[in-house]
Symmetry: C4
Subunit: 194 residues, 4 copies
């Protein structure tokens, strides 16, 4: 099998994160597209899943943030599903172990929580990182308004099919009408074939 990345992904990457800067900390949100692998059969399958990357920074002065010590948390498709289906009173929490499948499993624990403000007028988005390898703890919390959360929901809903790779399934015929001859036999096993 050969590995592939979407064109322009590495060298010409466009950065347009949605950032929320507040008094004690900030975070930015940006989609990471999936990568694909072409099998010998010619079929193309998802190699590395896409995600919604959240990057948190502490404030270190007025409108200054500590870019050197970022903490990352990559939301999966299903975690994005939790976020976009939250009502104004709902809360949710996700747990990640970056070393999950290695010998260091359990040594670093990250949790992201989204909790409503007492007045139902926005949320606290907080990241907690416990690193037993470095013997460090880190906690970052950013209050978001209802309007900022609406932007996050709309942008995540827009990005979700792209993160899942479904834009490639559905737009593969390009911007043009793009039709070509179909072979005589149906190319797909449909439900009716069984």
């Amino acid at each position: 099998t050969n590995k592939y990345a979407a064109k322009g992904y590495s060298s010409n990457r466009i950065f347009a994160p949605y950032s929320v800067y507040k008094g004690k900390a900030a975070f930015s949100l940006s989609p990471i597209l999936p990568t694909f692998t072409k099998l010998d059969s010619g079929a193309v399958v998802v190699d590395r899943r896409g995600s919604m990357m959240m990057v948190f920074m502490h404030a270190i002065g007025e409108r200054k943030y500590d870019w050197e010590n970022k903490q990352r948390f990559a939301l999966s498709a299903t975690e994005i599903g939790s976020l976009i289906s939250m009502g104004p009173q709902d809360s949710c929490e996700f747990f990640h172990d970056p070393s999950m499948l290695s010998s260091n499993a359990g040594q670093v624990r990250k949790s992201l929580s989204i909790k409503p403000h007492a007045n139902s007028n926005g949320y606290f988005i907080s990241l907690n990182v416990v690193n037993n390898l470095l013997n460090t703890k880190d906690f970052l919390s950013v209050p978001v308004t209802t309007a900022e959360f609406a932007v996050m929901k709309t942008a995540c809903s827009f990005a979700l099919p792209h993160i899942m790779g479904w834009d490639h399934m559905t737009h593969q015929s390009g911007g043009t009408v793009g039709l070509k001859s179909k072979v005589e036999q149906p190319a797909l096993d449909l439900e009716w074939d069984k």
Copy 2:
């Protein structure tokens, strides 16, 4: 008339299903695009309708699933409409007969049901297949969380216009501005013509 498939549909197909793996069974969800036929008049019409294909498998061990014995169920546009309009307490059920228009009509009966958990916190998605030709019965049920169902709803809402072929109607001028001279007479009968 000539038959056409969307470019890349058969030979370069991309697989990026959304899969939900649970203890007793799993399913995956992926959109199937419509195919088109070009009439002698030059007009292009939908030949085979698109659908949302659900593929169910039984668990046959820890994190192992029986890929040899899949059951398929293809949701139509209107059935997708049912799914995406479900509230947390709603349920729905669809009935298919894969041999509907053949001499075997009524011999195989499939039904897909989506029923809310007792606590309104997610759904059971279950497929029932009764095959009188092979004298078999099969039942597969997968519990999905609210977050997983939100991914399904968002992905199905995104895919629905593509399954209906409306992305071709609306994006036919391509990614570029793509304008060309219009003939003097209006090309379409509008409401006002009558």
Copy 3:
């Protein structure tokens, strides 16, 4: 000024209406894209607005419909706004006069109504046409289920920005990254210029 149509609009048009066939009548729904005019300044403006075309037919037998005597009703962007914001108990009605600006104004009156079923489980979509020129009256009514109406809402929400021509405003740089040098002076009067 020169007139333009979107590429492929007239000669290679793709037909993929969403159709609802019921016992007494049927209708189909399909988006009509706007056309554009290029001004001498080089700016491109909307020439003819887009719409959502509804075509109604009477049933004239089992699964047969009277294609010869169709009635059309073209929903404007704002009427689509009414449709997609309807709750399960809401109703709405639109009035059109196809000869509005001619000497025949008032001679043909069309009204489309969407009214909820008594049990809140779907709607009746009805077209009434009174033609004083031909001395005819016509009435067609199609019951739609909640699922069918969900398809209509989702498809109309998808199509609305295309009908408004906003897909051209936002996708004009094409599928590629598509950047070119910017002139020194800002090309647009922004809010801050005033």
Copy 4:
């Protein structure tokens, strides 16, 4: 660094505003895309943020509006987030100072308010401009129906990811499948690297 505008942005711009004309005033709504800067590293970042431009005009006769004396108000991504998350009883207000970072800061104050009608059946959208430099005041108010506001919400939800520049992040591989060889080392620091 080099500055870039999206292709066609300045010379071939397409105008397709959504306009609401009422008895005393009118406004139009149209998206302004972000511009990008290419850094020496090859990365492309947002240079000027996108917005949703509202342009208000007074009525100066029957169906005539004062195009000479427009007032502009550019909604940011977060302000669009407020608009699209408004319920039927909600109101919101935004304050802008076009000279914010100049020596004239505070001399011109603009505020846009969206307030529900007494009967919850639509909103008043009003712009207030106090210009201490010119010693002028201006107030424009346009009533919008529920249907018109639904169009605004749907169009703004569609435009928001484009205004944020996320369409470039997710569609950068073009309309075609567009795959190229991936270098051996991962091109991105993912959450797991930390």
